[in-house]
């Protein structure tokens, strides 16, 4: 009995030790690769937040930013994960399905929860460059929309010129 107890204990300890090692390895040696679409989304999200001039609340943790896809097909799960991880040092990105998830519907002016922003991502239009329509919703009275053009390849994207401010379409009747 004592022998079996020791054997079991050693086995448990060995398995746990192996897992700790593996756990450490995955976090330190992981090769970061993100999908091209995710890289584009990451760039425009950061830029549009900067342009909004809104001071996001980061008193307790990373500032939360809500993101919605205007594309009816939505944004693929792996792309969402890449965007979240791409911006993990700056923002807590939360992809939503329903406006109610981001907007405080019981407050006057229908502001975004936690004084944050709701960003709408239009579909990526590919030709020589990539065009994308972005909308930023802060409340019913504060909605702005931009058209971005980006050039580059899979691992590096840059803005072409400054984004053009356009009429909002996605958030106009949203709430």
């Amino acid at each position: 009995m004592a022998f079996r107890l020791r054997t079991y204990s050693s086995l448990v300890a060995a398995v746990v030790a192996l897992a700790v090692v593996l756990s450490g390895c995955t976090s330190s040696t992981e090769v970061e690769t993100i999908a091209p679409n995710a890289a584009v989304y990451g760039l425009v999200i950061v830029d549009v937040i900067d342009r909004s001039g809104v001071e996001l609340d980061s008193s307790d943790a990373l500032p939360m930013v809500f993101v919605e896809a205007f594309d009816t097909d939505g944004i693929a799960l792996d792309v969402q994960v890449d965007v979240i991880n791409d911006l993990i040092e700056q923002y807590e990105i939360r992809f939503i399905d329903e406006h109610e998830e981001a907007i405080a519907v019981d407050l006057a002016g229908l502001p975004v929860r936690e004084n944050s922003l709701l960003i709408g991502l239009g579909p990526l239009v590919h030709d020589d460059n990539i065009d994308i329509r972005i909308e930023v919703y802060q409340s019913m009275d504060a909605i702005r929309a931009y058209r971005y053009t980006l050039a580059g390849s899979e691992d590096r994207w840059d803005f072409v010129g400054v984004p053009e401010e356009i009429e909002p379409e996605g958030f106009v009747a949203a709430p």
Partner: protein
């Protein structure tokens, strides 16, 4: 349809756990619950709340479906392992804790990656393996089968307290660290659980009942009826976990509500262990099971009418309470109607069915994509319909006696059938089990049962067909007197 005489007291906890090897399960259960509470809490900081539900749904569906696969092979595997392998039950518990500890450590650095889904579901499957193995093990560890209800109740109480204590620890870790550290803390509890499992004594089934006795007992109408009710509760739990989880996210409620839901579910379960004996003094087990379906139905109606943090927390508490009360009633039915079915194989099948019901409920929530209020309304309707059906069947059965104990009679009928096939020795074993089941009623003088047992021992040596037939006749007489 009385399973146990209404008002018959359960044995005191002290006497049950003071000298029982079931006591060794208490720290194991405590570590399991603490680990599970921390694991659930860590999901607050996972990808689950960052990605859109619609995008995640196919992946959740895939892994939930995969969760079914191990259970399809669980019933035939766990039972024989526990029955036949020396220390087999410890091996299954160790495997469950070990797998969870390893995966929790791996997941600690992968909460924001797509590995969350397969790894989280490994933890879910391993936890369910633990539940099946533990519930299978308990009957063989309790010294007296009459103590099954009390031991399971004490285990539930310890588990609930441990979960409620672990939750604030997890919240504190979240405040100073991140969800990864909550998972690492969970891994510590899983390892402690594995070490505690090593202290469980090797169980011995002192009497080896005929498989036919087990089969007859476990397929009795009372057991089937109770299993149906319990499956309804398990299905509701699985449904609520995913449906409310999705609804919490899409309605934008703060993540602390998730903690509230977890704690209130555990608190409901804890309260249930105290309320169940009170109910038992007034109603029989089947009536308690029927009533326990009504409670979450009412809570679901309220939550459907207005879904917010308070109603979500109330629904979780109601479901925890109902699950706890229902489980105690279910154990009571097994205790009286399947007193010989103590072996792993018989129990594993039953427990596995309950876990599959949980998975089916979860799948229904993920597949249906129903709006929050509609899903809860449908849940309330299903639970209400099931409780109404059970109440009607209960009324009919009370007049016809269809669900009544009648176990000794059914066993004697089985003994006759076996004897007619020519297997007299097997028939004697079943008849003896029938006499023992009749003796539980207290209407049989112990001396008469002892006389039959002496006779069967003598017959086992002499191989006398005439003696076998005499024993069968005497057993029938004894059973007829008590029924």
């Amino acid at each position: 349809m009385t399973a146990i005489a209404v008002g018959a007291p359960y044995p005191a906890d002290q006497s049950v756990l003071g000298d029982s090897s079931a006591r060794s399960l208490l720290p194991v259960q405590a570590m399991h619950s603490a680990g599970e509470a921390l694991f659930a809490l860590s999901l607050v900081g996972s990808l689950f709340f960052n990605v859109s539900v619609d995008a995640a749904r196919p992946r959740i569906l895939l892994y939930l479906t995969l969760t079914m696969a191990p259970f399809a092979v669980l019933a035939p595997l766990i039972g024989p392992v526990i029955d036949k392998l020396r220390g087999g039950h410890r091996a299954v518990l160790l495997l469950s804790f070990g797998a969870r500890a390893v995966v929790a450590l791996l997941l600690a650095s992968q909460l924001k990656t797509l590995l969350l889904y397969p790894e989280a579901f490994v933890v879910v499957v391993a936890a369910k393996v633990y539940v099946v193995a533990r519930n299978t093990l308990v009957p063989s560890l309790v010294a007296d089968h009459d103590h099954l209800v009390v031991v399971n109740s004490r285990l539930a109480r310890v588990g609930a307290v441990s979960g409620v204590v672990a939750a604030p620890i997890g919240v504190a870790i979240l405040q100073v660290g991140d969800a990864g550290w909550v998972l690492r803390a969970a891994a510590v509890f899983y390892v402690l659980g594995a070490l505690s499992a090593l202290r469980i004594p090797e169980h011995r089934v002192d009497t080896a009942p005929s498989p036919m006795v087990e089969l007859t007992e476990m397929h009795g109408p009372g057991i089937k009826f109770a299993t149906m009710g319990m499956m309804g509760l398990r299905m509701a739990t699985g449904f609520v976990l995913f449906h409310v989880g999705f609804s919490l996210k899409t309605s934008g409620l703060p993540t602390w509500v998730v903690v509230g839901v977890l704690v209130s579910g555990a608190a409901g379960g804890f309260s249930g262990t105290f309320i169940a004996p009170w109910l038992h003094r007034r109603w029989n087990e089947q009536q308690i099971l029927t009533t326990s379906l009504v409670l979450p139905a009412v809570a679901a109606v309220v939550a459907a009418l207005r879904f917010h943090s308070a109603t979500a927390v109330a629904l979780a508490a109601a479901l925890g309470l109902a699950g706890s009360i229902g489980r105690r009633a279910f154990d009571g039915v097994i205790q009286t109607q399947a007193p010989h079915a103590r072996r792993g194989q018989a129990y594993a099948g039953l427990e596995t069915r309950l876990e599959i019901a949980w998975v089916v409920g979860s799948l229904a929530a993920v597949l249906s994509r129903l709006p929050g209020w509609l899903g809860l309304a449908i849940l309330a309707a299903c639970l209400g319909a099931l409780s109404l059906y059970r109440a009607l069947v209960g009324v009919v059965a009370a007049h016809s006696g269809a669900l009544d104990v009648a176990l000794p009679v059914r066993l004697m009928e089985t003994a006759d059938a076996v004897a007619a096939r020519g297997d007299l020795q097997q028939a004697v074993l079943v008849a003896l089990a029938a006499a023992e089941a009749a003796a539980i009623s207290g209407k049989v003088a112990p001396a008469r049962l002892a006389e039959l047992q002496r006779m069967s021992r003598a017959l086992a040596i002499s191989d006398d067909p005439a003696g076998d037939e005499t024993l069968l006749r005497l057993a029938w007489e004894l059973v007829a007197e008590t029924s």
